[in-house]
């Protein structure tokens, strides 16, 4: 499955990474090389194999419902690229 420039545009949109038209071809070429490497795994038959998401076969531990965090609003807002005294600020979101 060779990648196309249309794929690159879609990925750029989904991943929210701008790719300048100058770079598009280079990106495409390198991604295509990586996908060729990846495609070598297609030769293996994996019928009836259970997918493995985690390194260890263990289960989720649960946390007690106890408040452990305190209000650090001021500090956090200061670390934001743009904020006022209450909110993180972004360009207007259009619904």
């Amino acid at each position: 499955m060779a990648l196309t420039d249309k794929d690159i545009k879609k990925l750029s949109h989904l991943a929210k990474i701008n790719i300048s038209s100058d770079d598009e071809l280079i990106v495409l070429k390198k991604l295509d090389g990586i996908m060729k490497l990846i495609d070598t795994m297609q030769k293996i038959d994996t019928t009836d194999v259970q997918p493995m998401s985690h390194a260890l076969d263990i289960y989720q531990t649960l946390r007690d419902d106890v408040v452990t965090e305190s209000n650090q609003k001021e500090k956090f807002l200061q670390l934001g690229p743009e904020s006022n005294e209450d909110y993180f600020i972004v360009p207007r979101v259009v619904e």
């Binding site: 985690h54 531990t61 649960l62 965090e69 209450d86 207007r92 979101v93 619904e95």
Partner: protein, 478 residues
């Protein structure tokens, strides 16, 4: 041409936990913006989610209440998309393996019972809030709500009218509060419905294309939105247009639904199992433990009221429409009050008054023991029902008063003494010969008028039941 309406509902129920689903930040509502935004809520680098036990317990509780299967293994996945109030760039949700599967809720719509199948219920985290139009028309991000636990409850497309949809939503709304997993506050967004609507030619097997009405947080709007949407879809098809699958919003001002600005490309959420969270395992022991704490469900209580207490279905369903009301009713009956009289009083008087003042049963100003005393005085015929209403109103105005004192000071004590009532009856018969004639010629109305006359000269104190009995006896004898 006639049309079938097909409706499915997805409800986002905020679970009443003290802390967020994946962090120890408080879920308290109504705080100033971002005070509940902790490291995890803000998606700081290297921070990790740890699942809240209480959220899981509440999801199981719901599953048991709708007779569903509780999954022994369930998995959390990431739903990837960018939005400023989604701090991680993905929402943690359950996708392929949800915690609750295949339950049902039985609704009653205009006397007809119907099972609405619940396909699944899964745990997920809520997003934050965007406040539009601040600071030179920008958007402010408040992450207090980000990470609040949600249970998303998804039905099969089993409802076929707005009325059924409302009946389901109300029933669910009652149930989640009844079992104590949600505060049910729709204004605060604790219970939000997305309604999928489609229409198809009557009897057709093929489902029509659906549109999803997002974020309905009132039953009234839900009904308006569905009705508008159904008519709109039918019109479109009859005019030869196709319905395009889309997400729509309901505008309460115009009463119309309108498609949201469609994204250039369809969303591709790239779900995959969250590597930061391990599979959730629920043991039979946990399930049994929760089952034993579930208590009576509204359905069982309704049966008890209609079968054991012989209440009519309308009164019974009002009493079980809310757990607090039911408990209040039960405690009254347990104190020795008559089940039917008590039901009448709660439904007819107390509720009317509470509704007038937009209060809940918790806010009722009248002390429970005075309310009990009032009904007792009616039961033992010390006062008439009408006198009872008078006292009820006075208690409402000034809850510090005492029922017995009010009866005495207002002289509302009912006269049940034969020697006092009989002369009054004689007097009325004597003074109203025409009415007596009319009664004898078969007019019931005349009889009621005669009773009214007796009550009038007794200044309302005569026991109306007794008056009516004695009067009838006299008139039929003579």
């Amino acid at each position: 041409m006639t049309w079938d309406i097909v409706i499915g509902i997805e409800t986002h129920v905020q679970l009443t936990t003290k802390t967020k689903i994946f962090s120890g930040a408080s879920t308290e509502f109504g705080l100033p913006a971002n005070e509940n935004a902790c490291l995890v809520s803000l998606a700081y680098p290297g921070t990790l989610p740890v699942l809240n036990k209480e959220a899981v317990m509440k999801a199981i509780k719901f599953g048991l209440a709708v007779d569903a299967q509780i999954a022994e293994y369930s998995v959390f996945a990431r739903k990837n998309y960018f939005y400023p109030d989604l701090p991680k760039g993905y929402q943690i949700s359950q996708f392929e393996l949800p915690v609750v599967n295949h339950g049902y809720l039985e609704i009653n719509n205009e006397g007809v019972n119907k099972k609405i199948r619940i396909l699944r219920a899964h745990l997920e985290e809520d997003a934050g809030k965007s406040v539009h139009g601040i600071m030179d028309n920008k958007t402010g991000i408040d992450l207090n709500r980000a990470g609040t636990p949600l249970l998303e409850i998804v039905t099969e497309p089993d409802m076929s009218s707005a009325k059924e949809a409302i009946a389901y939503a109300k029933k669910l709304h009652n149930l989640v509060q009844w079992i104590g997993i949600c505060d049910g506050n729709m204004q605060e967004g604790s219970f939000r419905c997305d309604v999928n609507v489609s229409v198809k030619p009557s009897g057709s097997d093929k489902l029509g294309t659906r549109r999803e009405i997002k974020n309905l947080n009132s039953f009234r709007y839900m009904e308006q939105a569905i009705n508008y949407e159904v008519n709109w879809q039918i019109e479109q098809i009859e005019d030869g247009h196709d319905i395009i699958q889309s997400t729509v919003l309901f505008n309460p001002d115009s009463g119309e639904t309108k498609a949201m600005r469609s994204k250039e490309e369809a969303n591709d959420y790239r779900y995959f199992p969250d590597p930061d969270l391990l599979p959730l395992k629920i043991s039979q022991r946990d399930i049994d433990l929760i089952r034993s704490s579930l208590g009576e469900l509204p359905e069982e209580c309704f049966k008890k009221l209609t079968v054991d207490y012989k209440l009519n279905e309308a009164d019974a369903s009002i009493i079980v429409s809310d757990k607090k009301t039911y408990k209040f009713y039960q405690s009254l009956v347990a104190s020795g009050l008559d089940a039917k009289i008590t039901a009448n009083w709660i439904v007819g008087n107390l509720f009317a008054k509470l509704n007038d003042h937009e209060l809940s049963i918790d806010d009722c100003p009248i002390a429970q023991e005075q309310f009990i005393l009032l009904i007792k005085r009616i039961m033992d015929q010390t006062i008439s029902n009408n006198a009872g209403k008078k006292i009820f109103d006075l208690l409402w105005e000034d809850p510090n008063q005492n029922v017995d004192t009010l009866i005495d000071t207002l002289g509302l004590k009912q006269v049940s003494d034969l020697s006092a009532i009989l002369p009054m009856i004689d007097e009325i018969i004597q003074n109203n010969p025409e009415m007596v004639e009319q009664f004898k010629s078969g007019k019931d109305k005349a009889f009621n008028a005669l009773v009214g006359q007796v009550m009038k000269i007794s200044k309302g104190k005569a026991n109306p039941g007794q008056v009516s009995e004695l009067l009838k006896e006299k008139l039929t004898k003579s």
